[in-house]
Symmetry: C2
Subunit: 453 residues, 2 copies
């Protein structure tokens, strides 16, 4: 099939491109870049390239493609390329941007540059962008486009169709027209598919859907995403406090929110940012990681301090040093499972005051069950290994204590952090592992001191 | 605004529902459930409820809503409810399902039940479902719907519009009509918005888009998701090897794939399944977690065995027992950052043979830089604490060794696992932490044995 051929040709082009880059055949690279690849393909290629190759590629991209490519790049890389442009170049690049994308991009620039760029725009465009810029990036207002196609309820489908034909094109992702009254207040939506199966003489009022709730402009973006997922929306109208239509949100921007939210938990648990550039240069990578290692070296010394309290006991029974990491690490594993489940549940909006008590009970009881099981196994191995019944008793009890604490902390910590506006995914893992390490060593070595004392 | 009021009324209903359930006012609960909430709201409510409450709620859901609600439930909970239905009830529930959702659902049932259900369907529906069932769930074929609206290239827009008006409705998420030739082979797509701004006398051929590549039915679902994200698609045609149109994939199903893929990495790193029911009962939770704890108890004993090799050295210098967890845990932290970055990069399709060497170099060099920094800090603290220069030298060198190994293993391990068809997110974390623990204790205690020997 020609289209499948087309597809493998695209891959072939990518491979040829890599080879051409390696051999320095830059003219050939430029031809492939600007001839055959879509802006999103070029953006993906840039994101997948180490810094030097990336800079070469970027210089070869046609000036009039730059804007499109920038829209698809991740924040980290985009703000780097933007910082290399002056206000005039910027103005040229952003000419065809939609208002929400433009606002996103401007938010990454210094205030002085934003003003310069706004000055180059005509009054209407500037007003639109300033409207979107006035809302935080992570709200419905920051996500919305202002390019809506609206109709009045009392006209006929026939008139609507003639009105539409006067357009050269409709905004991307237009699956419905928004119905507003004379005061520009939201009334309902009329889907294009509904319109297409209706009689031309029907009025908008007869076929519009007034059950669709418009999105308040201040709604957080993750709640917007939940609504889109839950009701399978393609686009949704956005209204201000006064009920006036301000714009619409489209699924492509919502998919980005979903992807970033989901990536956020994964990356944050490892102390990384979801916008992290996979191919960031050495020094930038080192600097960012150093912060995380710094936090963790403090927690590691905290555990060491706890162990230090029991030097005397370890001196007497060296077997304790051999076994003590087991209690700490099992606590960390059990606690991480609970923590991850709760963080995911919070992200999905499943956890509330009503079901928290049940969840805490379930986590505690199922951890107790498992800690009983594993304390028997671990104690058995320990006794067989060192031939001392006491060490089995100590490690078994310590496991039960540490796993129980891990389950409670794993459940309550993310909720506590969120209440204090601390990101549970970023701080949760570090705090949890500090607790399970400290409590693991404390319970094991503490019990040992009592029993061997 | 009435619609915003509407929204807070929905929340109010949910709260009232909770109170009614607590007080046992089941009639009131049923009225709220079936009167005011959408199927996706009911599904969310079920997912957010502990088992007993969930069973009560499910029994109160109207029979003719059950099918819709099931479609929105996560796999874990859905298969539980399905297992409670007999073939007749099943057949009633699935009446209005789209072919892809039906196939998804059937795949969770025993073969005998699938056959029984298929027998209750009429010939055309059965054929459609069997078609979708014949492809693996995680491919384009498993995602697709067979309810396409197709047109021929040589007819006029006017004729198309009259043809559409003969329909009572168009399939959900129809943003374009698929153009096929007489042999039902894919030719192109015509977007509804393009059609609506075109002259009624234009032909489909004049305004259709033939650049859109159809999706091969065997394409893995995560590559389908990448295409949708990269090209901002709402729907896309699916073709067989012979170029014949088989169906179409819509963004709502792709959003589920994106959400599940992103959740998969997060949940798997903690040994959980992305379909995990947040409110699973105690015994099911305990059984699943026990497997993961079992794997980790083996790795913990592996580390203990390594420490056991150096009992003599620890006996001589107890300070070693105090400091040894620091080397292991810093290696684990550094390695997890690399591992997470690589797993995310693989999920985004950024990592290939061409850039792997660069990535490995970057990870190694930036880790070396940080390990030099932190070995000085940690060694300084250790010397100040225990007053022995030797212990500073030992812990500094051990840190450099363990962090270097962590960076190489963190980069290569996920790629190696993937090549062997082992899930990097599930196995990667455990293997990595085993390596960093073992190498941490081995390098630290090994060097100590040499220097203090």
């Amino acid at each position: 099939m020609s289209d499948i051929l087309e597809k493998s040709q695209a891959r072939q082009r990518l491979r040829t491109l890599g080879e051409a880059l390696d051999s320095g055949a830059l003219q050939q690279v430029a031809r492939i870049l600007n001839g055959g690849l879509s802006p999103s393909d070029i953006a993906h290629l840039l994101e997948s390239s180490p810094p030097r190759q990336r800079a070469v590629l970027w210089n070869l991209v046609d000036k009039d493609l730059e804007g499109d490519v920038l829209q698809y790049l991740n924040d980290d890389i985009r703000s780097y390329f933007l910082s290399k442009l002056n206000a005039q170049e910027l103005a040229a690049v952003i000419e065809d941007f939609e208002s929400d994308d433009l606002a996103d991009l401007l938010q990454q620039l210094p205030d002085a540059v934003i003003q310069e760029v706004l000055d180059t725009m005509d009054a209407q465009d500037r007003e639109r962008v300033e409207e979107v810029l006035s809302y935080p990036e992570d709200t419905a207002g920051g996500l919305m486009n202002t390019d809506t196609v609206t109709v009045r309820p009392d006209i006929s489908i026939d008139v609507v169709q003639r009105y539409l034909r006067r357009h050269r094109s409709l905004p991307p992702m237009t699956d419905s027209l928004i119905v507003v009254n004379r005061k520009d207040e939201y009334v309902g939506v009329m889907s294009l598919t509904r319109m297409l199966v209706s009689s031309p003489s029907a009025t908008v009022r007869e076929i519009m859907d007034t059950d669709v709730e418009p999105i308040p402009v201040t709604m957080p973006d993750n709640r917007v995403a939940t609504l889109f997922e839950r009701y399978d929306l393609i686009s949704a109208p956005v209204v201000g406090d006064n009920g006036k239509l301000l714009g619409r949100i489209t699924i492509d921007d919502v998919v980005d929110v979903i992807r970033e939210d989901a990536d956020h938990s994964l990356m944050s648990l490892a102390g990384l940012d979801e916008d992290e550039d996979t191919f960031a240069p050495i020094f930038r990578t080192s600097r960012r990681r150093a912060v995380w290692l710094g936090v963790n070296v403090v927690t590691a010394f905290t555990s060491a301090t706890v162990i230090g309290l029991f030097e005397g006991t370890i001196q007497k029974v060296v077997a304790l040093a051999v076994l003590m990491p087991i209690v700490a690490s099992m606590g960390g594993i059990a606690g991480s499972q609970t923590l991850t489940l709760v963080i995911r549940g919070m992200a999905l909006g499943q956890i509330s005051r009503d079901n928290l008590r049940w969840l805490l009970n379930r986590e505690f009881l199922s951890t107790i069950l498992n800690s009983l099981l594993f304390s028997v196994i671990v104690a058995g191995v320990a006794v067989a290994w060192f031939g001392q019944p006491t060490i089995g008793l100590v490690i078994g009890l310590a496991l039960i204590i540490n796993l129980s604490i891990a389950s409670v902390v794993g459940t309550l910590l993310p909720l506590f952090l969120k209440k204090r506006n601390i990101d549970p995914a970023l701080a949760g893992g570090v705090v949890l592992l500090t607790v399970t390490d400290v409590m693991g060593f404390l319970s094991f070595l503490g019990l040992a001191t009592i029993f061997y004392g």
